[in-house]
């Protein structure tokens, strides 16, 4: 039995043994290239760089690109109008037009060349057809000289009927210089961006590491054995704080479960030794000293009863452990609490009557709950049991139920001796028996079970002074329909989720 209980405990809170049993293992920072912080920062640099690049390309396109397109459009328009002139006025008309345009070219950027089929110049401001011009391309860039200074022109070729060729272009030196200027500036800008990005990445990596440092340090301390450690919460309420809070909750729970296991072991050692010893000595005594078969039978029967008592305690303990481990979530279903309360009152009314206690029920006609019906039955029965056990004759025990701000509150109030406020905090501990109750039968597990049931349902057990007497209130957060509430969190492996029955 002891082994089983311990085994169950180990199953509830699995704990890997620390890597080195001697010194706590402080996690070294991962190798540089494997650092998650670095990856995080690298993503940052990438995004930053890509954004900057996109911006640069956009700017370039909007400035230098626009200029280029404007030039090309002007040249094309020029070509087209010249072609029209050729059609209208023939060669002579075209020559005159070209000379005119040159004479009126205040901007001093136009280039024209009209050559005959033998590529001899006919009109325009170029001396000869440029030999470097490839014959297959329409557009080209042509180096020109302006008053001794090297310059650049963009030219377009147009074939006229009759074998004549027309070259029209613009001096784009200024634009070329602008383009170079812009390109250079953007390249430098990208370099600056890279440097800034790397700096930012270092900062981000630091932030990342710092945010995780707390959690890792606490986790390290805990795996070294110090379960009292908790992750520090910065108070900003951000995602890291939420993570820390969740981890702290988990640690609380593990701590509680481990305490529970410890308690169970202690309890088994102390509180159960008595009835087992008693049964043993009775049997031994009977074996040695019983004279008649009747005596033997009587002793055996009493020993059996003692052992039954021990079994009952174990069953209760295991039940509580099961409930606390959340294994019972699978039995949640919608049902009406009102008839359950009525049935319990009916069951205990006979006992109450016998002891001269008045048992009253106050509940709404219908109280829809999504909970574990059998567990609630046992929990409320435990409370009623206690109330009846400790009520004086002529007293009143009140069982009432109501829904307050989304939580169901089931309370059992008696007018017995109550629990002194000093003991109330510990009353729901396993095997706890207050002074007043020390001599009444029971193992002190009733309230522990009620509390476990309350916690399983996301609620609590509150013990208050009924002035005089005890008022035990069982609060449950399970009134809403499951769809509205959202499904319960991570269910233990293997638990079947029953489809909720139709609303009764």
């Amino acid at each position: 039995m002891v082994a089983r209980a311990a085994g169950l405990g180990a199953g509830i809170a699995p704990r890997r043994p620390p890597a080195s049993p001697v010194a706590p293992r402080v996690p070294a920072h991962p190798r540089f290239l494997h650092s998650a912080a670095l990856r995080f920062a690298a993503v940052y640099v990438l995004l930053f760089g890509l954004s900057a690049l996109a911006l640069a390309i956009f700017l370039w396109w909007q400035t230098a690109g626009v200029l280029d397109r404007e030039t090309d459009n002007a040249i094309t328009a020029d070509v087209q109008s010249l072609a029209v002139r050729w059609n209208q006025g023939g060669l002579a008309g075209l020559i005159i037009t070209i000379e005119n345009r040159l004479a009126e070219n205040v901007d001093d950027n136009a280039i024209y060349l009209l050559v005959d089929p033998r590529l001899q110049r006919v009109a325009g401001n170029l001396a000869a057809w440029p030999t470097s011009l490839p014959l297959d391309r329409t557009w080209a860039e042509l180096p020109i000289e302006r008053a001794g200074i090297r310059s650049l022109a963009r030219v377009r070729r147009y074939n006229l009927p009759g074998g004549f060729h027309l070259l029209v272009g613009r001096d784009v030196q200024v634009r070329a210089e602008l383009r170079d200027l812009l390109t250079g500036a953007l390249l430098w800008a990208l370099l600056v961006v890279l440097v800034l990005g790397l700096a930012g990445a270092v900062v981000i990596r630091g932030l990342f590491r710092r945010a995780l440092a707390d959690v890792s340090a606490t986790a390290a301390a805990i795996s070294a054995g110090d379960l009292s450690q908790r992750v520090r919460i910065s108070g900003r309420g951000d995602e890291f704080d939420r993570l820390s809070e969740t981890i702290n909750e988990m640690l609380e729970r593990i701590s509680r479960l481990m305490d529970g296991v410890r308690e169970v072991s202690n309890a088994i050692a102390h509180d159960l030794r008595t009835p087992i010893t008693r049964a043993r000595s009775r049997l031994e005594d009977a074996a040695l000293h019983a004279r008649t078969e009747t005596d033997l039978r009587a002793a055996i029967e009493r020993a059996t009863a003692d052992l039954d008592g021990v079994v009952a305690v174990f069953q209760a303990l295991l039940r509580i452990a099961e409930i606390e481990a959340g294994a019972r979530r699978s039995a949640f279903a919608p049902f009406d609490l009102a008839p359950l309360l009525a049935d319990l009152v009916d069951l205990y009314s006979a006992v109450a009557e016998e002891r001269g206690i008045s048992l009253k029920l106050q509940s709404p006609e219908r109280l829809a709950l999504f909970a574990d019906r059998e567990l609630l039955q046992q929990a409320i029965a435990n409370l009623l049991d206690n109330a009846l056990k400790f009520s004086p004759p002529g007293g009143v025990v009140r069982l009432s139920a109501e829904v307050v701000s989304g939580m169901a509150a089931i309370s059992v109030a008696d007018r017995g001796p109550g629990i002194p406020s000093a003991d109330r905090a510990r009353a729901a501990e396993r095997f706890f028996r207050g002074e007043a109750a020390r001599h009444t039968p029971g193992a002190g597990l009733g309230l522990a079970l009620v509390q476990a049931v309350a916690q399983l349902h996301g609620g609590s057990l509150v013990l208050a002074d009924n002035l005089p007497g005890l008022k035990a209130v069982l609060r449950l957060a399970c009134t809403a329909e499951p769809e509205a509430r959202g499904e319960p969190k991570a269910m233990p492996k293997g638990a079947q989720h029953e489809a909720p029955a139709a609303d009764t």
Partner: protein
């Protein structure tokens, strides 16, 4: 009655088989799943007591599922180790008729097995129950003994009905809690005893003979005195 016990623990099996035989039943025993299934499928039994955990590759649940899939409706009572509460639901869902956790009192086992066999008799819808001079009309919800009307609270009526339906059989306190109040745990106080005693006040006390008898260390039985 012919009862099959499929249980691998030698001590428990020996205890149960001996007790059942002493109560006048014909008992077969198998100590592993395969033999158990073979016996259950090939010979007729009035009830089967089946342990959940069995060696031999086939466990209690599988045996039951196999039997039910062969349309074998023999009543089955499951035994299981301490503390596996959800197993009860699974066992009943698979087609089991009743469930007991170990350790159990033999009287409890005997009472439940005998109740199981009565259940399987298929009497059809009943409107009247009668034991001795006690008559219960289920339609009008009225009870008469020796012609005299007895006034009963609704729950008392249900309690008496349960006792009458199991007339001549031992009915344990746990059975009453489950059958009448739908309550599945062991209460600390003797609630059942108080209810039965109140029922006796109305059904037995005003009359010369008692029908409701206490069976020591087991429970209660409704029968005509002297039987």
């Amino acid at each position: 009655m012919r009862i099959l016990v499929v249980e691998d623990d030698k001590d428990v099996a020996g205890f149960v088989v001996k007790g059942l035989r002493e109560s006048g039943h014909v008992v077969e025993h198998a100590d592993n799943g395969r033999d158990g299934l073979f016996l259950a499928a090939s010979e007729p039994f009035d009830a089967i007591i089946l342990d959940r955990m069995l060696p031999g590759g086939i466990d209690g649940l599988r045996i039951l599922e196999t039997l039910r899939s062969q349309h074998n409706t023999v009543p089955v009572l499951f035994l299981s180790a301490l503390g596996q509460v959800d197993d009860r639901v699974l066992g009943l869902k698979a087609g089991g008729d009743d469930y007991l956790t170990k350790p159990f009192a033999f009287a409890e086992l005997l009472a439940r097995v005998e109740a199981l066999t009565r259940r399987g008799k298929g009497e059809g819808p009943v409107t009247k129950l009668a034991v001795g001079d006690l008559e219960m009309d289920l339609l009008s919800r009225s009870v008469r003994r020796a012609g005299q009307k007895i006034d009963l609270q609704p729950r008392e009526f249900l309690l008496l009905e349960y006792l009458m339906r199991h007339a001549g059989q031992v009915v344990t306190r746990t059975m009453l809690l489950e059958g009448v109040w739908d309550y599945h745990f062991d209460p600390q106080t003797n609630v059942i005893d108080v209810h039965v005693s109140r029922l006796r006040q109305k059904v037995d006390k005003p009359f010369p003979t008692s029908l409701i008898h206490t069976v020591r260390n087991a429970g209660y039985m409704l029968r005509v005195d002297g039987q």
